[in-house]
Amino acid sequence: MALVRLDPNVTPFGALLGLQDELERFMRNPAFAMGPSGASAYPPVNIFDSPEGALIVAEIPGLDTAKLSVTGTGHTLAISGERQFEPDGGGLGYHRRELREGKFSRSIQLPEDYEAGKAEARYEAGLLIVRVPRAEHAKPRQITVQTA
């Protein structure tokens, strides 16, 4: 645990670079395999931590929110949905076809300190952003120091 943390938010670009460095550092650390349902499961997620709770960001571009479902039970978060393209045809054909469509479903196990049942989810710019609050008993508590 680092005692001193430099603020990477001095410049907006600094924030992006700092985030990148941290991501790489954490990706090389096998101790952080927290047990999502598989390394290649779709959608890929990044999980962040803050004093208020966990921030889960999944990259799922091009989704119709009516076809996206997020459920929280205990400390498990389940994400499922389907990406569909407009039917093609009437044209001359594809030059590139790299986007993927289809169904997906995965669940993410959080540490017991988080209450997935109280999560809030938002879909923005192709990102599913879920905030999971920390359980009351796990929140840092200010302790008053009394004089004798």
Binding site: L16, E59, G91, Y94, G126
Partner: protein, 136 residues
Amino acid sequence: MADKENREIATKEKQQLAQPQEQTRPGRYYVPDVNIYEFEDSLKLWADMPGVKEKDVNVALKDGVLTIVGQVATDMYAGVRPMYTEYNVGNYYREFVLNEDIDESKISATLRNGVLELELPKREKVKPRQIEVRSA
């Protein structure tokens, strides 16, 4: 396709861009996945750019080279620490050489749910002129 109903999406690792030019802004660049479909009178392009907002997209067509750039928003990461990560966060950059004659002034772009949608109308062909051959 017969199995279309039950098709599942597989995760593909983001491909980092081998820097084609020096950038004035720091940060990694990744190659966005695209679909390009050709119609009789236009080309349509879709590019996955999750995390990019409308104001941070740049599309340019110059000398037949189409360039798309998206700067990813990072404001939501202020004050949080990565706990577990599966993908890299970065900007998007991709270039295409277009063989079709595109009318630059009529290009339209929309960004919806992290997908850039471009409509590239082809330039109207100059009508062939019939040349009369007269006998001497």
